[in-house]
């Protein structure tokens, strides 16, 4: 087994290979995510962004290669261990809100905290807090079916941020939204990451949106074209950021 990665990398993967029922998704990907940074993974549809996020966020087991989180191995964890890691350390926003349909918005946001064993009061007050920050307090008592898509996606963002995870994974979080709503959601995600020292891994097919990131890694056909060590500092941030 190789040595643990440097301490300033919160998440680190080397040579990961993953295929879906024979279809190769990731061929050989190495990537390092630094503590507190906003990292964008860009690439066309089908280049393996979602699979990479799945492997990094302990949802999918890798076929080969290594994934380390906080200097401890993720690729050797059992399913229960990966569940615990996702519950306690990671947050996730997908390209669809994927809320639990029968729960209200407030319950949806409080659910990850309840699952992690937080108290009833603490869970719901954190939920209310995040619903307010995302400007969806009016929808707190409504079920997802009664809301419009942009509200649902904001609730999904609140659900990912409410437990204050170490790393938030956002897989094309702006896919179901219009331009203005896209900017708003990304601003909220990145500012929450900066103010709470969260690490944000953002997958997007839209090079425009990568401007919110500190650093960009391009993924082409399941490969990172260059070595994993800081590839290129994408025009770190556009003016005003």
């Amino acid at each position: 087994m190789s040595a643990a990665p440097p301490d300033n990398d919160v998440l680190w993967a080397r040579g990961i290979v993953k295929s879906h029922q024979g279809t190769p998704a990731l061929r050989d990907v190495s990537i390092a995510v630094r503590e507190g940074e906003v990292l964008a993974i860009t690439g066309a549809r089908g280049c393996g962004k979602s699979t990479l996020l799945g492997c990094l966020s302990a949802l999918l087991p890798v076929d080969s290669g290594e994934v380390w989180f906080n200097s401890s191995p993720v690729h050797t964890l059992s399913r229960a261990g990966r569940e615990k890691l996702r519950r306690d350390r990671f947050g996730f926003v997908g390209s669809q809100p994927h809320l639990v349909p029968e729960l209200t918005a407030r319950e949806n946001v409080a659910l990850p905290l309840l699952l992690a064993g937080a108290g009833h009061k603490a869970s719901y007050s954190a939920a209310d807090d995040w619903l307010e920050r995302l400007d969806v307090t009016d929808s707190a008592k409504r079920r997802p079916a009664e809301l419009v898509q942009s509200q649902r996606q904001r609730i999904a963002v609140a659900r990912a941020l409410a437990p204050l995870p170490r790393v938030v994974f956002a897989d094309d979080p702006t896919a179901p939204l219009h331009r203005e709503a896209q900017d708003q959601v990304l601003r909220i995600l990145t500012s929450a990451a900066r103010s709470h020292q969260l690490t944000l891994v953002l997958a997007t097919h839209d090079p425009e949106l990568a401007k919110y990131a500190d650093r960009t890694v391009a993924l082409v056909d399941g490969r990172t074209p260059a070595p994993a060590t800081p590839v290129r500092r994408a025009a770190a941030v556009v003016a005003g950021q």
């Binding site: 949802l59 229960a80 569940e83 615990k84 890691l85 996702r86 519950r87 306690d88 990671f90 996730f92 997908g94 994927h98 809320l99 639990v100 349909p101 029968e102 729960l103 319950e107 659910l111 990850p112 309840l114 699952l115 992690a116 009833h120 079920r143 079916a145 009664e146 659900r159």
Partner: protein
């Protein structure tokens, strides 16, 4: 040919639907052909002919009920097939036709199998005991069995075509809010019907009414009763059936009351959300099982005359169709819940927690069904004795 190609992609659930439809259709076809055989053997003008045909109505309705619910479950259960058919240019009407055709075909195959058996047996193979049932020795007018058996695919296909909702599953189809609550009017009407029916029956059963003549003869060797008892029972049963949905929703609400754990929260809210979808099949199941159990208890009571083969076979068939309908609806709900479960697993919920929530949900739903079914059965028993 198209359906044969579809059959190649069948899974256990699809095969179960096919086999249950075909078997039920075969049994109902046997009832219909027996009615026809007796009509041929009996002297013209015998009264029992119409009654025998009427006996075929409940199982025919049960088949219609099952095919309707199975047809509605199909687009949700097999979204990839719907997507494929849509991509091939099939619109909602065409998909409705395809699904109805599939179930009508299963009904027709069952009916044809029974017809072949009937024709073979008529060919002097059956013993003398079966001869009058088959109308042996009397020439068979060919239009009669065809007209009778056409009822089966017609009932199955029409029920399926009316129930299927392909629009929801098509790309861009509007997903309805399935977790809508029950209105207060519906709930209070159900409560009033139930209480009214129970009170009517209790009044008709009061000791002073012991000498009331019970003049209303019931079919299936169930003895006699009177109009007040029968009316009270029917109203209470209707009320209980309408009350099943609100009771399911209320039980779910109770489960999630207070400061629920994630398991209790998911179970309770899930039950409330599924109450509208579950209420009809569960109410029909509770009603059928209650009626069947009450009848069986009456038939096997000491000193009772028992009953013939026909009511027993009908009880079995109807119960089978009702259980099949509940299973089809459960499969539909399971497919509908899949995105929600995926989201929960993604959040790090353990499968054990989801399983526990599902068990809790089913225990609660089961107790509601048990309660309404038991009340229906008790009221029915009171009406008979």
């Amino acid at each position: 040919m198209f359906y044969l190609r579809l059959v190649r992609g069948y899974r256990v659930l699809d095969l179960g639907r096919w086999l249950l439809t075909a078997t039920a259709a075969a049994v109902v076809a046997a009832f219909l052909l027996r009615a026809l055989g007796r009509a041929l053997s009996d002297p013209p003008g015998a009264h029992a002919t119409l009654e025998r045909l009427l006996w075929c109505l409940p199982p025919l309705l049960a088949i219609g009920w099952f095919t309707a619910i199975a047809a509605r479950a199909l687009p949700t259960q097999r979204p990839e097939r719907m997507a494929g058919l849509t991509a091939a240019g099939a619109g909602p009407r065409w998909i409705r036709l395809l699904i109805a055709g599939e179930l009508a075909l299963a009904c027709a195959l069952g009916a044809v199998a029974t017809l072949l058996l009937f024709l073979v047996l008529r060919n002097n193979i059956a013993g003398p005991s079966l001869a009058p049932e088959l109308g042996m020795g009397v020439p068979l007018p060919p239009a009669a069995p065809v007209a009778l058996l056409a009822l089966l695919p017609l009932a199955g296909g029409l029920a399926a075509a009316a129930a299927v909702r392909p629009g929801e599953r098509l790309p861009g189809g509007e997903e309805p809010d399935r977790a809508r609550h029950f209105g207060p009017v519906r709930t209070s009407a159900a409560v009033l019907l139930t209480i009214g029916g129970i009170l009517t029956e209790l009044y008709a059963l009061r000791p002073a009414a012991a000498y009331d003549p019970r003049t209303l003869g019931l079919p299936a060797d169930l003895g006699h009763t009177n109009a007040a008892l029968l009316g009270g029972w029917a109203v209470a049963t209707l009320g209980l059936a309408l009350l099943t949905g609100p009771l399911l929703a209320g039980t779910g609400w109770l489960l999630a009351l207070g400061r629920p754990s994630p398991q209790r929260l998911l179970a309770g809210r899930g039950l409330t959300g599924a109450a509208r979808e579950l209420s009809a099949p569960l109410a029909m199941l509770a009603f059928t099982v209650a009626v069947v159990l009450t009848s069986v208890r009456h038939w096997v009571a000491p000193g009772a005359e028992g009953t013939g083969l026909l009511p027993a076979a009908e009880a079995l068939l109807t119960t089978g169709c009702m259980v099949g309908a509940v299973l089809a609806r459960l499969a539909e709900l399971r497919a509908l819940r899949r995105p929600g479960s995926t989201a929960l697993l993604r959040l790090g919920a353990s499968p054990r927690l989801l399983f526990g929530a599902a068990m809790l949900r089913w225990a609660a739903a089961g107790s509601v069904v048990l309660a309404t079914g038991a009340l229906t059965a008790v009221l029915g028993a009171g009406m008979l004795t």
